[in-house]
């Protein structure tokens, strides 16, 4: 899967969770940029994305995510294995 395809899929998850069909994200997007992205929503996001891609985020990955770009990098890394 290409990075673009991964971003598209992740965007869909964001759109579902925030119930906003016009939401867009990029590598630099952080929790400060989206209203309602609090620690609880974060858990929902991570779990849904993991389920959607059929991967498991390790603890060491999750604590390091600073923005959406980090998350995408992690997904790409796991898909390639």
């Amino acid at each position: 899967m290409s990075r673009e395809e991964v971003i598209a899929k992740v965007t869909n998850v964001f759109r579902d969770i925030f119930d906003d069909n016009n939401l867009t994200i990029n590598d630099k997007t952080t929790a400060n940029d989206i209203e309602g992205w609090d620690s609880l929503t974060h858990i929902t996001l991570i779990s849904t994305i993991a389920e959607e891609f059929g991967i498991n985020f390790d603890m060491s990955d999750v604590v390091k995510f600073e923005n959406v770009g980090d998350m995408i990098d992690s997904i790409m890394g796991k898909l390639c294995k």
């Binding site: 579902d16 969770i17 929902t44 779990s47 849904t48």
Partner: protein, 593 residues
């Protein structure tokens, strides 16, 4: 909403929460409003969010209170003005194995371990009793799931030093409390975790990071189960099954294969599977669920197949058998009228997906078991939650019998020209008395289930009934109706609050099984008698309009009340004055004292 019926997709429910909630609120508008306090020992917001959705899907709108992180004990036991002000109807205690300290070590003897067990149990018992005393609410308590590792391997379950053994012993103490306390329900977290898959359930990562007690994708399962318990308590269970025959209750098509060709019974593997399904249905029948047949067959052929083959369900087990060439949707609607049950009280089982589709589209709110393979029916019905049992009363055991007696009564009518003569011929007797403690559970159950012949649709828990029954400022009456065909049981309730010389009738309902027998007039006569004895000379009552109670829109007018006012929602307020001059209205039922 189909997406929230079993088998729902957890990922779908969790990710589309907001949209689903929006749609549910648009779809319905008549909700039962309740208040739920969740006292949790871990982070369970996802469970709350999913519970919200499953409850809305069952017509229940919940207001939530969440305890501060892991303060479930303190919130329940210590002074808590916020929770007191919230006044919960239901308190859900979400604890899990994470909340039990695994500090039993190999050096301890039986006595020391037992002592720890009792101390741990007493902590919980203290919570339950405090909640019971302060809030009088219903309590739902998780039991404990198996832990994430077994230090003693297979011996962990049997040896008293094993954590698994300790947890199971604690669970057993919880169950004993549940058996002895009627407002207390166990949420079987142990089963839910096992069903989800213990390996997937446990997550050290999630607990360490966020104090989340299990895999997030398991949370809809927990919420679904709790929602089923709650909707059952509030009378929203399905009440009847509409079953196809060919390839549903037996293998094959009876009109083609004949009674020797269909597969039912121990002779073939296929027959065994259908037999298992029939045995399961027979067990459900014992819970008070009504079994009916809806089959595209000639009636004689269908009845022959039912009675003269090796199935365990015989004609007698079904309340109504609709074997004809009408559409199944029409048949279910006919059943609904015949049995006086809403069409949305039915669950339809049919191996043919086209039939299921047609019924789903044409019968509003009916439950559908979306399976075509006989080996999957039991699991599908079992997991659906349609018939979740919370309160089981003796009356439920012979529900089928009562419905069949009713059909016999209906058949009698054709023998009479004058309806009044028919009523007199029934030789009806009634017992009408103030609520008695042996009936509190049945009274609460009836108040939660009755939707149609119900003026105010006020719901009462067993605790509510008990306090009202023991309160001198209330007049309560239950009505039990018997006739020459059988005993209908308790079929009507009235509750009125006394304000000086006036009675405010806050509840008046009657089971649809006894419509058109004048029982409602007898209840009115008895209410007036009770009022006269207390020098009450005026009764005020209300009709609160709902989607389901149009049939009592003019009941108070028929009772001789005068309308005081009506609002734009269709609710109306009425009064009956001058009770001293009231004349009894019911002539065909004898009251037994």
């Amino acid at each position: 909403m189909k997406e929230l019926e079993h088998p729902y997709k957890s990922e779908y429910v969790i990710s589309k929460k907001k949209q689903i909630k929006r749609l549910l609120l648009e779809e319905k508008n008549n909700f039962t409003n309740i208040k739920i306090a969740i006292l949790a020992g871990s982070t369970v917001n996802e469970v709350k969010d999913c519970l919200d959705l499953f409850l809305l899907n069952n017509g229940i709108k919940a207001d939530f209170y969440m305890s501060e992180y892991n303060r479930f004990y303190e919130d329940a036991v210590f002074e808590n003005s916020e929770l007191e002000e919230f006044a919960p109807d239901i308190v859900y205690i979400f604890t899990s194995f994470r909340n039990i300290s695994n500090d039993v070590d190999m050096s301890m003897n039986e006595e020391e371990i037992n002592h720890r067990l009792i101390l741990e149990y007493d902590k919980y018992k203290n919570i339950w009793q405090n909640i019971s005393d302060k809030y009088k609410s219903i309590i739902i308590q998780n039991n404990f799931e198996y832990p994430n590792f077994r230090i003693l391997g297979n011996k962990d379950i049997s040896d008293s030093h094993g954590f698994s053994n300790y947890l199971m012993r604690l669970n057993e103490k919880f169950y004993e409390y549940a058996r002895n306390n009627s407002n207390f329900y166990i949420c079987d977290l142990n089963y839910i975790a096992a069903n989800f898959g213990l390996n997937k359930w446990h997550s050290e990562k999630l607990y360490a990071l966020y104090k989340i007690p299990c895999d997030v994708m398991a949370m809809p399962d927990i919420a679904f189960n709790v929602a089923n318990i709650i909707k059952s308590i509030y009378g929203k269970n399905k009440k009847a099954l509409a079953l196809d025959l060919d390839n549903t209750l037996w293998g094959g098509v009876i009109s083609e294969d004949g009674i020797d060709g269909i597969k039912i019974g121990p002779e073939t593997a296929e027959g065994e599977i259908y037999l298992s399904f029939q045995k399961y249905l027979k067990k459900i029948k014992d819970l008070g669920i009504i079994l009916n047949v809806v089959s595209k067959n000639d009636e004689s052929v269908a009845l022959n197949g039912i009675d003269n083959t090796d199935g365990v369900l015989k004609q007698d087990d079904f309340v109504s058998i609709k074997a004809n060439w009408d559409t199944k949707a029409d048949n279910i609607n006919a059943l609904s009228k015949e049995l006086n049950l809403g069409a949305d009280s039915f669950v339809f089982v049919d191996d043919n997906p086209m039939e299921r589709d047609i019924v789903a589209k044409n019968v509003n709110g009916v439950g559908i078991i979306d399976e075509s393979l006989p080996e999957r029916y039991i699991n599908a019905i079992d997991k659906s939650g349609y018939f979740e049992i919370t309160n089981f009363v003796k009356e439920d055991l012979d529900k089928s019998k009562k419905y069949k007696e009713n059909i016999n009564r209906e058949k009698e009518i054709s023998k009479f020209v004058d309806y009044k003569d028919y009523l007199m011929s029934l030789d009806m007797k009634a017992i009408v008395k103030p609520f008695e403690s042996k009936y509190y559970e049945r009274v609460s159950q009836l108040s939660n289930k009755s939707n149609q012949f119900n003026l105010t649709t006020k719901r009462y828990t067993i605790e509510n009934i008990k306090s009202i029954a023991e309160n001198d400022e209330y007049i309560t009456l239950y009505g039990k109706l018997l006739d020459k065909f059988g005993d209908n049981g308790i079929v009507s309730l009235a509750i009125g609050k006394i304000n000086d010389d006036e009675l405010d009738l806050e509840l008046f309902l009657m089971s649809c099984r006894v419509l058109k027998r004048d029982m409602e007039y007898l209840m009115l006569d008895e209410i007036v008698n009770a009022c006269k004895k207390r020098n009450i000379n005026r009764i005020v009552a209300r009709y609160l309009k709902t989607e389901k109670n149009a049939m009592v829109k003019n009941l108070l007018s028929d009772f001789g009340f005068d309308k005081l006012n009506e609002n734009e929602n269709g609710d109306s307020e009425w009064e009956l004055k001058d009770l001293v001059n009231y004349k009894a209205k019911c002539k065909c039922i004898k009251v037994e004292s």
